[in-house]
Symmetry: C2
Subunit: 351 residues, 2 copies
């Protein structure tokens, strides 16, 4: 008892208010950020972690490596445009790409629930391997655990990835500065809607496919052409709005975006209205934002548009010197409003 009391006194999360983990603690909004900022980061603090990047950047000798991890708990595990296997490969590859790294190798940790169909496991494993071959990365080490029926949910996959930062680039939220131009590589919201449609059993007129795609190719093309890129971030849990807020807070800058310039497909917009979702907060798995120096922004846009994953790229805003670290969005008729982190969850188990 004494030991428990000692721990509970020092727990940095107010236990009376949040005695237990809620779904919102994993959904990308304010509670999740509180958990990370108040509990995980102070406990584990070290320079690589404190950089709050998608990947940790580590130096060994003259070589810089990127290292990242993600667990995938998406439900359902098969969805239009992908499955938990391809997601587990591309999701982690994309986090490496955001640090400017060429993906080198992946680990795969499976947590299977007793009773999970062997044939589904086989489909997922094949999908992982196809995805890995597509980006030229190997799954070099793995682990399998099985938990009792009712103590898991079919399959969870963790992948960790190591990438090699070959170019002389330094990408991080801290490098974002006032004046930077903000680019987005295409329309938003498709991954979240594709998963939700299957989960909720909704049939849209046309099937909406996830935008799931590996971003290492387009990022490689961009970095080769346009060295004055300061930061990139992929728009996963919590969508565009969350990524913008994370960067604004870490960099200590303001960000202004123009809603008119953010592409949302009509069917996605319709589905969002039906489901009561804001596409700005819906998860993507093949979309990322780039902060570029103003002088290089047009060049960056050209490179993005020349790549199949950036055909719909646009400049959507810029960085301001507001010290409030706020994200402001101007609506279609030019009215500004604050785009904040969500308080609770919008879409649990979307990745």
């Amino acid at each position: 008892m004494e030991r428990e009391q000692e721990f509970s006194v020092s727990c940095p999360i107010p236990l009376q208010r949040y005695p237990n983990i809620t779904l919102a603690h994993g959904a990308g909004g304010k509670l999740m950020h509180g958990l990370i900022e108040e509990l995980f980061l102070p406990a584990f603090s070290n320079p690589a972690l404190d950089a709050r990047h998608d990947s940790a950047v580590l130096s060994h000798g003259a070589v810089n490596f990127a290292f990242t991890t993600d667990s995938y708990v998406v439900q359902p595990i098969f969805f239009p445009g992908g499955d938990i296997g391809s997601l587990a490969v591309y999701g982690t590859v994309n986090d490496l790409a955001m640090a400017g790294a060429r993906p080198w190798c992946l680990s795969a940790g499976f947590i299977l629930e007793e009773g999970f169909p062997m044939e589904a496991l086989w489909r997922v494993v094949q999908s992982m391997q196809q995805a890995a071959e597509h980006v030229g990365v190997c799954i070099v080490t793995g682990d399998t655990k099985v938990v009792d029926k009712g103590k898991g949910d079919g399959i969870f996959i963790n992948t960790a990835g190591i990438g090699v930062i070959e170019r002389d680039v330094s990408l991080s939220p801290q490098r974002v500065q006032p004046g930077d131009v903000l680019l987005l590589n295409g329309d938003i919201g498709r991954h979240g809607i594709a998963v939700m449609a299957v989960r909720e059993g909704i049939d849209f007129e046309t099937e909406i496919e996830s935008d799931l795609a590996p971003l290492s190719g387009i990022v490689g093309a961009l970095l080769e052409e346009s060295p004055e890129v300061h930061c990139m971030r992929d728009l996963t849990r919590g969508g565009l709005a969350t990524a913008l807020n994370e960067i604004a807070q870490t960099a200590g800058v303001g960000i202004e975006v123009d809603e008119n310039r953010i592409p949302v497909r009509e069917d996605v917009q319709g589905a969002c209205e039906l489901l009561g979702l804001d596409p700005l907060y819906v998860a993507n798995e093949g979309r990322f934002i780039t902060f570029a120096a103003p002088s290089d922004a047009e060049r960056a846009l050209c490179v993005l548009r020349a790549h199949e994953l950036g055909a719909g790229a646009s400049i959507i805003g810029s960085v301001t010197d507001s010290s409030s670290s706020r994200v402001i969005i101007r609506s279609a008729i030019g009215v500004p409003r604050i785009l904040d982190l969500l308080s609770g969850e919008q879409l649990p188990r979307i990745c």
Copy 2:
């Protein structure tokens, strides 16, 4: 449907016999090895993975790295001598050590169940950090997912680790050869019994504590003194018997061990009899075997015994040129028997 059929035809596991995942597929015995050898390894095949080592060994320039992953699903999460947090750090550190690597950095992926007590999370996180500091490794990147109540079991943790192989050593099952001497660093079975005692609510006269410990220090000492070490393996899921069988099969050699020389504490032996377990198959988290050239075996034993984690070290057997890849154990009265992999599970969710 057609797509499903196509996949199911080619699934390498006989689906009529094993249509679904069972607990035994994760318990370290024959079914788990079948799943790895027939499904995962052929699908993901590459030289680093195919080496079947605890860690993948990867070269970049002149530097060799070790990379490994494990998910931890132990139940209960707090047990005498440790908890899921320290286990997640030391377990992965030990896999790096088995490749002769100095642990460099870890990732941490949390899968939390809705309703998990915040204070327990805080205790686990503190325990992870203490363990990481103890071995001088940093947790540099992480991820948190939350799943709905009833779709998880409190907390699962995945850690992946990168280590640097600084010495000119090459440790792998393939290097094990006839004549090699087999060393063990201490008594076996304590981790499994410590966890099972709490799970089953059994009170022993004296509390049996897990042997959970980081092996990077003792391995470093060994490698510094004794270069003719061919392979090491820690004795986790499936215990000593499983590790011996894995090595015998991968190396294509026979192994003979002497039951008299394998230390089992009296209270552990008693608990095993009570629970119907064979200590040779019970999990450890601070025990490992070393295959050394005969000329260096005594020197290796001295180094092990000089370290606090090897005070009870002994030579327990040797490698033979039997082509059957069998493990033979001689009982107390000298009668030989085959020590095989278990068919089913002995202890699910022990790590």
